[in-house]
Symmetry: C2
């Protein structure tokens, strides 16, 4: 029986190599991973690997694990295959941070308590309403073509009406539909900004967890914040980059801190950016998710110069799975970005666009939002209560007025990777602060949007224990 098990591993790996799925130079999974995959002892794995090494298919290097060195065809001497792995990581686009990649990977699996996830809980998923909308879309199903370069016209109209209620006046020609706000950032990075540009942004910021701007050769310059958000005077003190600088900001329910830029600060910020001629990218994906009171008018609503590019998305208020977001800005900028969007993927899913259109124009957007706001209020309160119970003396935090996050400050700095792994071992997926600013090693971005009440309570109590054990 051990025999057939070990053969299974040999055949599996031989298949992977001969089909070209595991290519020359690639590191194969560790012995531990193979053992758990095939549900066998480590010794069975070792026997299999030894056989494959004897055949010349694998090679172990000290400290580097086991690599594919060859394949059966090469052994026949037919010819030398291509080393794709040399190419991998050669393109100009940088890899994600290891921890971010791990989180992306683990997030989609079941069975963890997700205390970092920036998504609404499945409990808030409006299945009934969406079914209704899907039925409507299905009933009217005309051919799903490639859409106009800027996206479905009616959807852009619906977004105009939606924005008008928020005090932002625009027209469909000034809107580009994108596959989520993240794609908006990607298009702006590769299509609008000069290489070597400086991006001012809050420190910490969601954008530090991405490599979208860095990969495009931009220089990220974090600006300090206080309880009212970005310290605006830091911008005028930073004059080297003039003419080559943009500001990226999440003024409302900031990711990761939850902070909202105050009314006066908004005016100052616009004023300074106009004076210094710094265009603004306003990321407003959380703006509608207020819990206590509506936030101040968006920067875009105050913009009289076409100085602000405004980003929105359905990911946080409805579901990220539609992959629908929008950019609002001067027509010339939108035209440039829409050309680029066409070159990148010929537009976002028409099906998603139709569902988004119905969602926005049917009134369901608003009614679902009130429900979500109520839920977020309860959830936030549960989380704050649990924090007071279990993290007292260990950490401090402010109570956010909307959005998904509490930015928990641990009194003592800690090794973020250790914290991450310890929590994971307890079945808890955490987003440590250093993802959002290198030096934020005293912070955790705690999300109350996704986990259930029990999970939030239990997770935070475990977190207390872990923190205590790490002191």
């Amino acid at each position: 029986m051990g025999n057939t098990k070990y053969k299974k591993i040999v055949n599996f790996i031989t298949d992977k190599i001969t089909r070209g799925e595991w290519s020359i130079g690639m590191k194969i999974p560790s012995q531990r991973e193979l053992a758990s995959l095939f549900e066998v002892n480590r010794s069975t794995v070792i026997t299999a690997l030894e056989e494959l090494k004897a055949e010349g298919l694998l090679e172990s290097k000290m400290g580097q694990g086991t690599m594919v060195t060859n394949n059966t065809w090469t052994l026949l001497g037919v010819s030398k295959p291509v080393n794709w792995n040399e190419n991998v990581s050669l393109g100009f686009h940088k890899q994600s941070m290891k921890m971010v990649k791990d989180i992306n990977e683990i997030e989609t699996k079941k069975g963890h308590i997700q205390l970092g996830k920036s998504e609404l809980s499945p409990e808030m998923f409006p299945a009934k309403q969406l079914k209704q909308i899907m039925k409507k879309v299905t009933g009217d199903l005309s051919p799903l073509s490639y859409e106009e370069p800027r996206g479905n016209y009616q959807l852009r109209q619906a977004i105009c009406s939606y924005l008008e209620k928020k005090g932002i006046f625009t027209s469909p020609d000034s809107i580009l539909i994108v596959s989520g706000a993240l794609q908006a950032l990607q298009l702006i990075a590769i299509g609008l900004l000069r290489k070597g540009s400086t991006i001012f942004l809050e420190r910490p910021s969601y954008v530090f967890s991405l490599s979208v701007f860095q990969s495009a050769g931009m220089d990220l310059r974090g600006l300090p914040m206080d309880r009212e958000g970005l310290l605006v005077n830091e911008i005028s003190n930073n004059q080297e980059g003039k003419g080559n600088t943009v500001l990226y900001t999440i003024p409302t329910f900031h990711n990761p801190t939850g902070i909202t830029l105050g009314e006066e600060r908004r005016k100052e910020l616009l004023h300074v950016c106009e004076k210094e001629q710094i265009p603004i990218i306003e990321d407003d994906v959380y703006g509608d998710l207020w819990i206590d009171d509506p936030p101040p008018l968006a920067l875009k609503g105050r913009d009289r110069y076409g100085n602000v590019l405004y980003l929105g998305s359905l990911s946080k208020t409805l579901t990220p799975g539609l992959r629908i977001g929008w950019i609002v800005g001067p027509e010339s900028v939108i035209e440039r970005l829409s050309d680029l969007k066409m070159q990148t993927d010929y537009g976002s899913s028409s099906l998603s666009q139709r569902v988004a259109l119905e969602w926005l124009s049917s009134g369901l957007y608003e009614s679902h939002l009130s429900f979500v706001r109520q839920q977020l209020k309860i959830r936030r309160n549960v989380a704050v209560k649990a924090l007071s119970q279990h993290l007292k003396g260990l950490a401090s935090w402010s109570v956010p007025e909307g959005g998904f996050f509490i930015w928990v400050k641990i009194f003592r700095p800690l090794h973020n990777q250790h914290l991450f792994e310890k929590a994971l071992a307890e079945g808890i997926l955490l987003n440590p602060g250093n993802i959002y600013a290198h030096e934020a090693n005293q912070y955790i971005r705690l999300s109350y949007s996704y986990a259930s009440f029990e999970e939030i309570n239990w997770g935070i109590s475990q977190l207390g224990k872990i923190l205590r054990s790490m002191q």
Copy 2:
């Protein structure tokens, strides 16, 4: 009455400027365009523009048209606004060719006979079957989250089974779901290839109509073709780029020529690329659309070295509106590309992925395909007959064995832009050859997939007249 009409134009433009939709430095629409937009005489437009110039909002420059010079707020002396237009076209991503942009723009409008479009006719859109699938997806509607980095697992499994029937053996881990094959090219360009790499490809090629590789700093090297496709020995004669070179090919029902790479050529091509260590990108979006006989086995089906990255899509066989395609390749390469995909847009629409899953796994894919093949056969024959009738003595062509296109060679070289405009004036949208290779100014890519039979007939007869008039 003329008076209120001219006021309307003044208000419209003033609004555009004060809202920041038309920003400083932007060229406004031409007098002709404004006249047709407002359905007024040119003189009314001129009156309006004069008033706006007097207010200091616009300025005309000889040979450059009329620009926005200011806005009402600037006039108040508040501060200098940002010139976004300076930024526009500064990013490293190149703009599309003007003609390609125009085609993209006009294609989505109604009322033209589309003799260039690479899409199935609405008549072939399987509304009934898709409704059935939408109902199923709606019935099972679980929350639409962000998907796994490589895409919906079941969809990847379904793609494996589908590929197996075509003689390509792979596993879900070796597949990445993308938003169409175009996005696959974009991800490969920015994530896998070194800047300055050389891309061998057929000349002409679809890829010459894009700027995806050029924008990423790659050097496109077109290789000559004959009736059996790419001339393989040209590759080994081109040795400068060794180690820094990939080959992009559309071996089956090539866009734009319709040519299929022969069986022997395929073997040679793989052999040479293995010997020269040149990885291959095989674009197979038309492969299933054979009319007479199935094409030879895909390169990927013969690949024993992980030397081939294979691209597929639902755009040409079902509908481009779903924006679903796939990349198949060595796991290490797929992992790198999936990381990049996450950084770019967090994955393709979950809704589209679910519909694609049902489409592939329900058997509807196959039955719809037989219908489409029959239709394409009729359409191709209609087009060939019309060509014989109306272009005899003017042009020559080969009869394609599948796909969407006939590559019509005009006996006398002609000015492609003139041809394009003349045809457009007759209500016909054409894709002239120079889009696909600069020197292909004697060609038209004629598509028989989209227009109705009557349109194909009438369009080709008009084309004959236009060509005669241009001789």
